[in-house]
């Protein structure tokens, strides 16, 4: 075994059992996520202004009655841009999470069930990919392949594949040794059906836990890529890009930076709370 002890990174959870605290976290986080999802879907009906409408007479207006969260260097309404910015991130994150979890589950199941050479090759390839932190790999691929939503989704999904595959493989290795799998094997079930009908249903908890944790990571990664200028084209109200575009004016119009920054924070924190609460539910003995 040359696999790193580090790479196995198990995250100890904070809430234990199905106590009241996890219920509060679930309620608070769930409400926030739901609110942002509603905003992402219906922002054209909710935003007071057109998020790309420029109003040169009201540049850098401080938060007040006309513009609740002020305006930016082009006189665009900060609140409207913040609401509109929910959509791109909530398109990328679920897609990347679903893709990455699916691919990782397949890879992990196959490597764990078949073992031997297949397992060895798959794990070595994963080891090489893991050498790149998500953001570094993303910069490399997205900057070079030309920025597009597809590129962002694919690169995030690819980095999740490696993480999910490791967890699912570990869970598969545990299940494979259990009596019910042995029984199925003796019944004459073949490896594929063993994998899909016996092992897969018993590693679903692992898959669900991975998916919820990865969802937060996806929002984190999508926001960061957008901040680095690798998201949607300039001028779009994406949160990360808004922070980056407006930071030049931090001294005179801090609200233009704080609004999208706090929007990102609220969504990632809500996701983290929900993921932690769900994990403690699903993993509770």
């Amino acid at each position: 075994m040359t696999t790193s002890v580090i790479a196995k990174g198990i995250v100890p959870r904070i809430s234990r059992g199905v106590g009241g605290r996890s219920r509060v976290a679930l309620a608070v986080g769930g409400t926030l996520i739901l609110a942002w999802a509603v905003i992402a879907l219906f922002w054209p009906h909710l935003a007071p202004y057109d998020p790309v409408h420029q109003d040169p007479l009201h540049r850098f207006a401080p938060p007040g009655p006309g513009h609740w969260l002020g305006t930016d260097q082009f006189g665009r309404d900060t609140l409207s841009r913040m609401l509109a910015g929910a959509r791109p991130v909530l398109q990328v994150a679920p897609l990347a999470t679903a893709l990455g979890t699916l691919a990782g589950t397949v890879v992990g199941l196959v490597a764990g069930t078949f073992g031997g050479l297949v397992d060895e090759v798959v794990m070595r390839v994963l080891d090489a990919i893991v050498v790149f932190p998500t953001i570094i790999a993303a910069v490399l691929f997205v900057a070079l392949s030309g920025r597009s939503v597809t590129a962002v989704v694919l690169v995030i999904a690819a980095s999740f594949t490696t993480i999910v595959a490791r967890s699912v493989r570990a869970a598969t290795l545990v299940e494979r040794e259990k009596a019910y799998v042995e029984a199925a094997r003796l019944r004459g079930e073949r490896s594929w059906s063993l994998m899909l009908r016996e092992i897969l249903p018993n590693v679903t908890t692992t898959v669900l836990v991975e998916a919820t944790s990865r969802f937060g990571d996806a929002i984190f990664a999508a926001a960061t890529l957008s901040f680095l200028g690798l998201g949607q084209p300039p001028g779009s109200p994406e949160w990360g890009a808004s922070v980056s575009d407006n930071r030049t004016w931090l001294q005179i119009a801090p609200w233009t930076v704080l609004a999208p920054a706090l929007a990102i924070a609220s969504l990632v924190v809500a996701t983290a709370l929900v993921a932690d609460a769900l994990r403690s539910r699903w993993e509770a003995p």
């Binding site: 990174g9 995250v11 976290a25 070595r124 932190p133 953001i135 490399l140 070079l144 924190v269």
Partner: protein, 318 residues
Amino acid sequence: MRRFLLRRLAAIPLTLVAVSALVFAATELIPGDVARAILGREASESAVRALRVQLGLDRPAATRYVDWLGGFVTGRWGDSYTLKVPVRDLVLDRLGASLLLALLAFVLLVPVAVTLGLVAGINHDRPADRVISVTGLTFGATPEFVTGVILLVVFSVKLRWLPASAQIPPDASPVEALNHLLLPALSLVILCTGYVARHVRASTVTAVESAYARAAELRGFTRAQVVRRHVLRNATVPATSALGVQLQFLLGGLVAVELLFNYPGIGALLLQSAIDKDLPTLQTTAMVLGILYMLVVLGADVVYRVLDPRVRLGVAAR
């Protein structure tokens, strides 16, 4: 231990080949013509062709890969397409700057995270634990540039305590330099503290509830003595692996933090060379970061083994 080290060291060249292939393949993905991209739209077709030959881009990809890898291993890293300076000077200079920032963040991170984790673990399921755990979870989930921007607004714009740019003026005293680095380092620390503290907390809880800690308590040692002599080491050693993971986050986080604070580090260089399609710089930067990352993981594994006698002596062998 020696066998473990040898195996891990032997795996490095293999991983490097895989990593270099990935980096090279990524740079092959560039749509359009690199020579055209450098010269611009107006350049004549013959000029573009000449540059392509000059850069060796007319040769097959496999030849270029072998050449490039050979050059990388022997330290011939070429010249930057856009900045016209040797890549080696550029990358090593930026790497030094980033390591300084990462080191400061790490030095701040360890005592803060370990203390918080210990306090949470000793008081587990009490208010102190809840506050620490939920705060850590919250900050750990928030991207470093978001915390960085909030820190900027508070400490630089409102309070005017610290400078907004991390660029250290050449004649700055060490204290001034530290002032410039403090906000970017803090945004990295805030990102990583929660995760490390969580690991320390988990192993502290295990240690506090262990038979040996309970026995010590029953023999009449005070809580402080039990913690110092029995809990501390058992709680912190497993956390070294968490620190390894966080060092990786630190490296990845450098990109956004360096951009936010205008810091001339290797993360910013990676981003800039990717946007400029400055291939020699980009490939070298990515390789250097990949190697750094690998060494960090290896280092953390070694430290973990050195500190934990059970792993060191192979008692807990698989």
